[in-house]
Amino acid sequence: MEKIAFQKIYTKISKITKATCSLIAENAGYEELALIHKRLAQVVKIIDKEVTLQVFAGTEGIPTNAEVIFLGRPPSLRIGPDLEGRFLNAYGDPIDGGPELTGIETEIGGPSVNPVRREQPSQLIATGISGIDLNNTLVTGQKIPFFADPDQPYNQIMAMLALRTQADKIILGGMGLSHDDYLFFKNTFENAGALERIIAFINTTEDPPVERLMVPDMALTAAEYYATKFNQKVMVLLTDMTLYADVLSIVSNRMEQIPSKDSMPGSLYSDLAKIYEKAVQFPDGGSITIIAVTTLSGGDITHAIPDNTGYITEGQLFLRRDTDVGKVVIDPFRSLSRLKQLVIGKQTREDHSQVMNTAIRLFADAANAKTKQENGFDLTEYDDRTLRFAFDYTEKLLAIDENLAINDMLDTGWELFAAHFSKSEVGIRENLLEKYWPNGKENEKVNINTESDS
């Protein structure tokens, strides 16, 4: 696994906890890797000659006379063209039965991009999903998580999204993935014939949990290689960041740190920001886009993990099961893409922003009508129409199983407006109404009603 020559071997361990071993050693560097009892470990604390190692695979069975060898380097990945199509573990070693990597040994978790060298993200990413493209348009260089309950099909959506987006590379960082989900990703990518675009770093629930702390850095180091060396558009998928953060709290607990909110370490914000902020648009055209999954517990977004994530990422996509149409939808109220205004109406049709806002406003009217209905109040005729609109809108646009071009989404929007409302009710700018309102389709019943209103 590692070349071990002319290195001093230590054999006297003074302290062992569940996660760490300490020993007297010289010349160890901070964050340096070591092999202890043939397990990989990392220096997390040095006081004088006492070095504390965090053992990724746990300390079970390590004797006080175990062999310790320092490797003289921090965690790294062998970077090179032979990464393509490979499935690797959290250490960057192959798990697909293929040959060892031969690239240049590169430190993971490297430095940040100088903010003045960043470009403003500006390239639209088309996913075919209206809940995203129409309402929460994504842009290259963006970082955005799905907020989803554990029972929702977020991994399927991520895989579909990655394949549809025409990214040059898709890098999957799987943390605490079930073995079944790992195989799902592998098969989906294989069946799509997209394997050469894929690189995966996988930590399954069968692997030691602490190992998964390296997965995001591994994935992003590979992403930086393709985005800076070849100016490629790289899409990084991180699933599930909640399981990543859970391990942060386990480690900090074992290191006897004082926990802050929800027993998470006080550094959670910085820890997550270091990962998400790797999303970037480089000046030479390359980009790293991060789509992550943060599973929620009972939809609670005030928990420290989603809360800190929301402060870092550029929006969030909420998955919700709509009971009226029986499909999973992207919730238009709670979802947000902060970068959408950089491309809406600029790289998409001029009516994009108006169609999006009007549809959501009418959908909100429907939600109010529904509340009224549930509280046993009478519905007005307008309320009834908003409810019918909401049903169609959910089925045709919000459901994630549709695959449409953005112009088709906009046209569908106009058709739904015309089917349920009058021109004056949608309140869209005059010149757009003239241009896009479907001819002769104004709901007659609607017309009569508005006349009688005034």
Binding site: E31, A273, F377
Partner: protein
């Protein structure tokens, strides 16, 4: 001779240094690691063990490395050339760094040492001066930049000589001063000052008495901030804290704007980098960038430098204030700074306070906010720092230590409401929960009487009453149903909606609506309150909503039109006819 020591312990970015030589609290030291020099600050001294926080990653660092103490606290360089710069939290010039990625231990000069400035002397030979007095001036962008007697000089000095008008570099001697001792002191255009010590070279600090216009109606009209005042904006994520702060930074009536992007998203800073060179200051017509300095310590940059960044920004603001300028300082977000303090306190194994924050957090926040203010300088001129910070409360819960600590000191409170944001009512400042203590200041009341109108503050409190009544009416309607309440409840609710849509809501992306001068704010508030005071005749509740919707639409068109232009008047007469439809004479 500066002290030296050796590294004896490393825990993340907390390093323990051993030395028996003299070391001061908050002194800066350099840790030598191979060819790199890593900057660090002393945060605790325990016998021969010196605890330092490193402003960089400590990866690879080894015990035994040499540490050189500098004998100085963290300082910034003050001189012409600060404006339009993009600095990191330690005042390194980000633009002069090479490469796309930041390199550890790469420190760049904050000021251009080779640039020549046209210096005009203001002081004369033989004149008596003291720290902060103006010796001369240069033109920096459009600002008259005063060259001052170094703030570190104590007592009074006589100007022994001062150079004549001409071009000089920042390190050239421009004057010599003498305080009666044997040797005289030379003064250049640049001086250094430790960021954690407030600059106090002014005569006194009166209470703020006038308003700083921001062009944001929900601030200026309802909860105005005073020039030299303090305010804060807490709000959960996605409520538009940053959009609101950016709007203020673009529009506020300030000579200088210092923006500290403290532990927030890099792409948001990039937005400022890209926009400010293009956008114009609505008051002067010059590019916004010319009056702006950005301190960027984004969330992925080293945590310890995050704390330094807000102090660096404050010190730069104090420097410009001493030139008699109106400075606006914005920090987004002070919670990230507090979190940096928490991380360090935690590593030092201090006993934690609430939510594991350090116990002295409220004191640290208070001391920082207290550095803002309106001051009278020694020469009778005045300058000010108005400070607005954002707070990112964990889980959106305002009962957390940073929000509570800030509430004790900041005089304006702009609460962003999740509910308003969800219904896309931007800026999502809650008009009822928010407050400005300045409207209670006698000085400010007098200012409004003189500069806006006698009845202005009464109108504002009347507006707030209507908003509260409207909210109550809405609750009643929700409980009892549309037809379960009398029609006038609906009218009351919709009158508050008129205020909400026309005064409170403002489109930050519309070229006209985004910025409303005070004159226009007064005009519109009067117009809206006239409507609120009118009586209308409705047959049933269903008429009410559609009628007021029409009225709001017409009022919004007025907001979108240039003040008193033709379209403006056209929509005004349209509004008149709508009013006349239902108005009871």
């Amino acid at each position: 001779m500066a002290s030296t020591g050796k590294v004896r312990g490393i825990i993340a970015n907390l390093v323990i240094v051993e030395t028996n030589e003299t070391v001061a609290q908050n002194e800066i030291c350099m840790i030598l690691h191979r060819e790199e020099r890593l900057m660090a600050e002393v945060i605790k001294i325990n016998g021969s063990n010196i605890f330092v926080q490193v402003f960089e990653s400590t990866r690879g660092l080894k015990v035994g490395s040499t540490v050189e103490f500098t004998g100085k606290m963290l300082e910034v360089a003050l001189g012409p050339g600060i404006l339009s710069r993009n600095y990191d939290g330690l005042q390194n010039n980000l633009d002069s760094m090479e490469g796309v990625f930041l390199k550890r231990g790469n420190y760049t000069a904050p000021l251009d040492e080779s640039k020549e400035w046209e210096f005009i002397p203001l002081a004369e030979d033989g004149q008596e001066v003291m720290a902060g007095d103006w010796l001369g001036e240069v033109k920096e962008n459009q600002i008259v930049h005063k060259i001052m007697v170094p703030f570190s000089f104590e007592g009074t000095y006589k100007v022994e000589s001062i150079v004549s008008k001409g071009s000089y570099k920042i390190n050239d001697c421009i004057a010599t001063l003498n305080n009666g001792s044997v040797s005289s002191l030379t003064v250049t255009m640049v001086q250094k000052w430790p960021v954690k010590i407030p600059l106090r070279s002014y005569r006194n600090k009166p209470r703020p008495f006038k308003i700083l216009e921001t062009g944001v109606r929900v601030i200026d009209t309802l909860n105005p901030i005073a020039e030299g005042g303090t305010g804060f904006i807490p709000g959960p994520f996605g409520c538009g804290k940053t959009v609101l702060q950016h709007a203020i930074s673009k529009q506020a009536e300030a000579d200088i704007v210092v923006v500290a992007a403290c532990g927030e998203r890099a792409n948001e800073v990039v937005e400022i980098f890209k926009e400010f060179p293009e956008l114009e200051d609505p008051r002067t017509g010059y590019k916004l960038l010319e009056r702006t300095t950005i301190i960027a310590n984004t969330s992925n940059m080293p945590v310890a430098a995050r704390e330094a960044s807000v102090y660096t920004a404050m010190t730069l603001a104090e420097y410009y204030r001493n030139m008699g300028l109106k400075v606006l300082l914005l920090a987004d977000s002070t919670s990230r700074w507090a979190q940096a303090l928490r991380e360090m306190s935690n590593r030092m194994e201090e006993l934690p306070g609430q939510d594991a924050f350090p116990v002295d957090l409220p004191v640290i926040i208070s001391n920082f906010y207290s550095r803002a203010g309106f001051v009278e300088l020694n020469n009778g001129e005045s300058g000010s720092i108005t400070f607005i910070g954002t707070v990112s409360p964990a889980g959106g819960n305002l009962k957390e230590p940073v929000t509570e600590g800030t509430k004790k000191i900041a005089r304006c409170f702009y609460a962003l409401s999740q509910q308003r944001s969800d219904s896309k009512r931007y800026p999502a400042v809650d008009p009822i929960d928010s407050y400005s203590k300045y409207t209670e200041y006698e000085e400010v009341i007098a200012y409004f009487k003189e500069n806006v109108s006698d009845s202005w503050l009464d109108m504002v409190s009347f507006t707030k009453d209507i908003l509260i009544k409207g909210r109550e009416a809405q609750e009643q309607i929700n409980i009892l149903g549309d037809d379960g309440v009398p029609v006038h409840h609906h009218v009351l609710f919709w009158k508050s909606e008129v205020i909400d849509f026309v005064i409170l809501q403002q489109d930050a992306f519309d070229p006209i609506d985004q910025m409303t001068p005070m004159e226009r704010q007064k005009y519109m508030l009067e117009k809206v309150l006239n409507i609120v005071k009118m009586n209308f005749n409705f047959e049933n509740f269903e008429e009410v909503g559609s009628y007021f919707r029409k009225m709001i639409n017409s009022l919004k068109q007025i907001n979108y039109s240039e003040f008193k232009s033709d379209p403006f008047h056209k929509y005004e007469s349209e509004l008149e006819s709508i009013i006349n439809e239902k108005k009871v004479a």
